[in-house]
């Protein structure tokens, strides 16, 4: 009847990213939950900057998210020292996939989205599973409210003939997370939105969600 040590826990929360022609919006809520109903924190960001052109947003277990993002950051710094240039989006996305698969038999409990600008100026978003399978998309989401947000994203993004304009994309991201915050108990408090644009420094804004 004794219970075995459980190495994993789900700290909840949701992340989302949308790519336009020359911008990427990547966002995540800042709520951390524990044991389903406790709020561990209202203000911990799930999104990390790797370079001015690459951001990563992760949902899942905060301990694994923190360690994974820290390792990725340091590896990217090392890449720059060794090669003299910032790591590119495609190199980073491949590296993350390899890193995750390296832990195939004791995975990082993280559901990652990488968003960024490629060296040629085009944009890309990469969606991962916990063991490193990844694929490029124009929009994605992950986390406790992903199943609520995907239908909304699909309805707006699938079948588009032209890239989504910026204001529409920002509205979509805000609406998606706000709606997620209404119905998913693990999503709420604040949202950190990062906007990456070709040739510019990334901008960060925060907006509030309900705290219930």
């Amino acid at each position: 009847m004794s219970s075995q040590f459980e190495p994993y826990t789900d700290n909840g929360g949701t992340v989302i990213a949308v790519a336009g022609e020359d911008f990427v919006i990547i966002a995540g809520d800042t709520r951390l939950t524990q044991n389903s109903y406790c709020i561990a924190s209202r203000n911990v960001s799930k999104v990390a900057k790797i370079t001015d052109d690459i951001f990563i947003a992760s949902a899942g277990m905060q301990a694994d998210i923190f360690t994974l993002q820290k390792n990725l950051l340091l590896h990217s710094k090392q890449f720059k020292q060794d090669t003299g240039a910032d790591i590119s989006l495609s190199a980073f996305s491949q590296y993350l996939g390899n890193t995750l698969y390296g832990r195939r038999f004791f995975p990082y409990y993280t559901f990652n989205i990488v968003g960024g600008i490629k060296p040629d100026g085009t944009t890309g978003i990469f969606e991962y599973d916990a063991v490193g399978n990844f694929q490029e998309y124009k929009c994605s989401c992950a986390g406790s409210a992903a199943s609520l947000m995907f239908p909304l994203l699909d309805s707006q993004m699938k079948g588009r003939k032209t890239p989504i304009p910026f204001d529409e994309a920002l509205g979509l991201v805000k609406d998606a997370i706000t709606s997620a915050g209404e119905r998913d108990i693990h999503t709420g408090d604040f949202v950190k939105i990062h906007v990456l644009r070709r040739g510019q420094a990334p901008e960060e804004t925060t907006f509030e969600l309900k705290q219930d």
Binding site: K70, L74, K77, Q78, Q81
Partner: protein, 234 residues
Amino acid sequence: MFRNQYDSDVTTYSPQGRLHQVEYAMESQKLGSVITGVRSNTHVVLAAIKRSSGPLCSYHEKIFDVDSHCGIALAGLAADGRGLCRYLRREAMDHQYVYNSEVPIERLVLGLADKSQQRTQIEGSRPYGVSLIVGGHDRTGPRLFQTCPSGNCYEYYACALGQRAQSAMSFFDRNKEKIAESTEAELVRLAFDALRTTLSEDGDLTPASISVAIAGADGFKKLSDEEVLAFFQG
């Protein structure tokens, strides 16, 4: 007189109590082109003359960043210098990983000194053939160090290594009152002028052959070619 009998490996003392192999290693920095470091109350400047083996060859890089707050200039065997640079970068990053803070420069340098010392005490290995000037800015302010193959390290307000470095040191000595209160620009100018004193009669500094890096409270930065040119013209 007995030098030749006691200098064939690093683990043999001479009757005078000297390790000749280590002393020979320390000669290697004199072969390199000049590097200087100078420290004011707020900044550290590293400056170097880069060498190229001919007009068709690129210049050898002399200054490397180690972390966002410090960097090195090397004189001597460049390959050894690159290996030490790799070591310093890993150590600095490791410290950042474990302690979530920038490694104090003195600690970094002492680690390097200990590593150098090991090579003076093991049969079959040779000491590193490079001396480094390590400069940066940490919580204790601007710091400037020199390391050498013996495993000793020294802290300086101004130092120079390489061919004809003595003239640069004399220059710093003559101008030592100006150093502490210098502005960033004045400090760079001092480093340039020190480099100039080491040139042979027909030589001159050109922007392409100079490397400069500045460390201050906002971090360690190698100047780009355009910025070096601006200092030249200004």
